[in-house]
Structures are given as C-alpha cells and as structure tokens.
C-alpha cells in the first residue's frame, strides 16, 4: 500500500525543440508567459504530412498538456480554446489518414475475427522483439527502451481516460486491468515505476519526457493514437481496440525481450519489467476480451467497427515504428533523432 521508496519530485518536462513551422508556432505560443500571451495562431495546412515529424510533435505537445504539462507553461493552457482548435485540425488529418490507410479498411466490424488474428503466434516473424531476442545489441536495446519511455513512463494513463466512458461490467473489468497496471495497490510495482527502474538499470535517464527530442514521429504517433482515442468519447471503441492490441500481443513479445535482456547480461531490474508483462498481460488478454470487449459490444454493438479500427490502426503504427527501427539498425545507425552515447557513429561500423 505504501511505497518503500521516497517519492520522487514531480517535475514537468521541458518543452521540446520544434521540427517545422507547425510545432514551432505551437511551442513559441506555449512559451509566452501568462501576461503577454494571446491565442496561439496555428494554421494547419491541409497538405501537412499527417505522420510527419512536425504534426506529430505538435499534436504530442497538445496532448501532453493533459498529462504532466511542460515546465514554464501555465496549467490553464490545457483548456485554451485556440490550442483546442489547432489540436482538432491536426486530429482530423491524423484520423483521416489512419482510416484511409489501415490494412483491410476501416469499415469492417467482425471483432472476433480481428482478435483471432492477434491470438496466433507467427513462427517466422521479423519484428523488433524477434530481432532483439536473436541478435540485438545492447545499444539497440537501450534505444528501444529510450523510445518506449514516451509511453511507458505514463503507462496506462491514456487508457484511464476511457474508464468514465464505459458502463457496468466493461468499466469494472477495465478498472481491474488498470489497477494491475498501477501496481495493484503497491506503488513500487506500478508498471511505469518498473519501467523507470529498467531505464536506470540500463543507465538511461528515467526522468519523464527526457527522450522527447530523440523520439521520431513513428514513436510519437503511437502515443498520439492512444491520447486521441482516450480523450475523445466518440473514439472509446477505438481506444478499447488499441488497448486490446497491446494486451493481446504483449506476452510473447515481452518473453522475447526477457531473453534479450538475459542474453545481454542486463541487471535484474532490466529483466523484471518485461518478465512482469509476460505474466500480467496473459491475464489482461483474457480480461480485456471477456471482461471489457464482450460486455461493451453487447451493450453498444455499434462500437464494433471502431474496435476493429483501433486494432488495425495500432497495428499500422506499430509496423511503421518496427520498420524504422529495423532499417536503422540493419544499416548500423541510430533510430533516434539524437543518438545515445554508445550508438555507432559510422554507418556499418557494427560487426
């Protein structure tokens, strides 16, 4: 119930560096102090790349105001109408791109068939966890964990927004899973805490938001999907689909990462995060299917299409990130925008 460790001070992250005109206008607007500030004028061009660095970073910053905010940015900016207007324009582009690009389309509503595709284990898969398990190097594992920190240091927070949008049994089961994510009453077992411990064990900086400038758009897009679906009641079906995708696919991937950490002689805390997820997500998979999705769709059958969309959108963004990581590493170069100290400097310099 009570932590054995002293609480860490809550420090909002620093604002990131801009990546284009959109994120520059947003960050400059957020920087203005409370006296001088006015509405943030943020024209979002229709031809802006919905998956690009500029839009994804600007969207990420808008969402971050709902989590920890940024150092020096007044807290009431969270509900600034000019920011919400700009956010909505970016969300329209992002959502439209996802609906157009999801494999199989955005109109199917067979949730059981979609879940079944996640419940088989490909034997000859070539994902990031397969690579790290087989032949990943320590610098690649550290890059992977640094990038994942953008989500895992707020693990379960985006999905917590959906609780108030669910009813009855689906709500109860969702809370049961989230309770487990938050350590089931033990603050030292919170998954975000276990992730920070893993970062420390890998000699990464575990401060919230530390690697934002290093994270490419592919990383931000995954977190933005969760935040967008969590913050919009109308996307509650997609949020549950996204959550189910993580819970259904996590155990086997986590098991491979446990083996990767052990093969690389990582410290126990670096093994523990993924070891916990093998076991926890084997439970969560069952709860999300039987406890959340089944009763939610029984009560609101019309949400089926968005559940399928949430699953497919998660898969699409995961594949994009996976491709970026594997292509970068295969070329012997960092996948980060600013490399960690031990990343190879020259292309092809790794054995």
């Amino acid at each position: 119930m009570l932590s054995r460790n002293p609480p860490r001070p809550v420090e909002p992250p620093r604002l990131p560096h801009a990546r284009g005109p959109l994120s520059a206008a947003l960050i400059d607007g957020l920087r203005l102090d409370a006296l001088r500030r006015g509405p943030v004028v943020l024209p979002v061009p229709e031809d802006c790349d919905p998956y690009g660095e500029d839009l994804q970073l600007a969207l990420y910053c808008c969402y971050e105001l709902h989590y920890r905010g940024f150092a020096g940015v007044p807290e009431d900016r969270e509900w600034d109408p000019s920011l919400l207007t700009a956010r909505a324009a970016m969300e329209r582009l992002f959502l439209a791109a996802l609906r157009a690009d999801v494999p199989g389309g955005a109109e199917d509503d067979d949730v059981d068939a979609e879940l079944a595709t996640l419940l088989v284990e490909p034997i000859d898969a070539a994902g990031v966890s397969h690579h790290l398990h087989r032949e990943g190097e320590l610098w690649q594992v550290r890059e992977y964990v640094a990038l994942r920190s953008l989500y895992h240091l707020k693990e379960a927070d985006p999905q917590a927004f959906v609780i108030a949008r669910l009813e009855g049994p689906a709500k109860a089961a969702m809370v049961t899973i989230e309770h487990d994510e938050y350590g089931a009453g033990d603050p030292d077992r919170m998954h975000a805490r276990l992730f920070a411990d893993m970062m420390d064990a890998l000699e990464l900086r575990s401060a919230y938001g530390h690697y934002l400038d290093a994270a490419p758009a592919e990383v931000l897009a995954e977190v933005n999907l969760m935040s967008m679906c969590g913050l919009h009641r109308g996307l509650r079906g997609a949020l549950v689909g996204q959550f189910a995708t993580v819970e259904l696919t996590s155990s086997p991937g986590s098991d491979r990462l446990v083996k990767a950490m052990r093969r690389l002689d990582a410290r126990p805390a670096a093994v523990e995060f993924y070891a916990e997820h093998v076991e926890a997500d084997a439970v969560h998979e069952q709860l999300v299917r039987r406890g959340v999705i089944a009763p939610m769709l029984a009560a609101e059958p019309a949400l089926a299409r968005d559940v399928v969309f949430g699953i497919r959108a998660s898969g699409l963004l995961a594949d994009r990130l996976s491709a970026l990581l594997l292509q970068s590493w295969a070329a012997g170069r960092t996948a980060l925008r600013c490399p960690l100290a031990d990343a190879p400097v020259l292309v092809g310099s790794t054995p």
Binding site: P122, H130, A184, S251
Partner: protein, 91 residues
C-alpha cells in the same frame, strides 16, 4: 464466450470465482497461494490470476500464452503443434 464475470471484484461472503476458458488458462479471482506438486508455494497478489492448464507455460504455474496456435506468415493454416513446454529458444 462464458457468462462469467472475471472482473476480480466479489463480495467476501461469495464463493471464489473460477473461470475456465476454452483453450487458455484458468482464471482465479483474488490473491491466491498455489501449492505446486513438489509442495512449494507460489503467491499471486493480482486481482485475477491466470493459471496454466495446458502445461505448455514456461512460467508455471502461471499462463504465459504458450497455448496459442503458431502459424507461418503467409500461410493461413494453423500449425498442428503448439509451443512445446521446453522449447525455450522459440523462433
């Protein structure tokens, strides 16, 4: 899909809920202590615990999803053999 409520929450006076899944683990609600065949005890403080019943898990007595069918990419037919209990070096 069973009409069970594997939600973990139950009144103290009600019997413990155990959910049997068709092809996966046994779901037991509340903290449990499991006695293994060799007499040793394992405790789970999770709201719900998934106990392996297919004996394929490498994290006995807990489920690690090894009961799942394994398929080759691009091949829709499921493999006959599922993950084997000792095939620790999967893939």
């Amino acid at each position: 899909m069973p009409e069970a409520r594997p939600s973990g929450g139950q009144r103290p006076e009600s019997p413990r809920e155990i959910v049997l899944t068709d092809d996966g683990p046994m779901l037991v609600s509340g903290p449990v202590e499991i006695v293994l065949p060799d007499g040793s005890r394992v405790r789970s403080d999770r709201p719900v615990t998934a106990l392996c019943v297919c004996k394929r898990s490498r994290r006995q007595p807990f489920c690690d999803t090894s009961h799942r069918c394994r398929v080759r990419i691009g091949d829709s037919t499921e493999e006959e053999d599922r993950a084997q209990p000792e095939s620790a070096s999967t893939r």
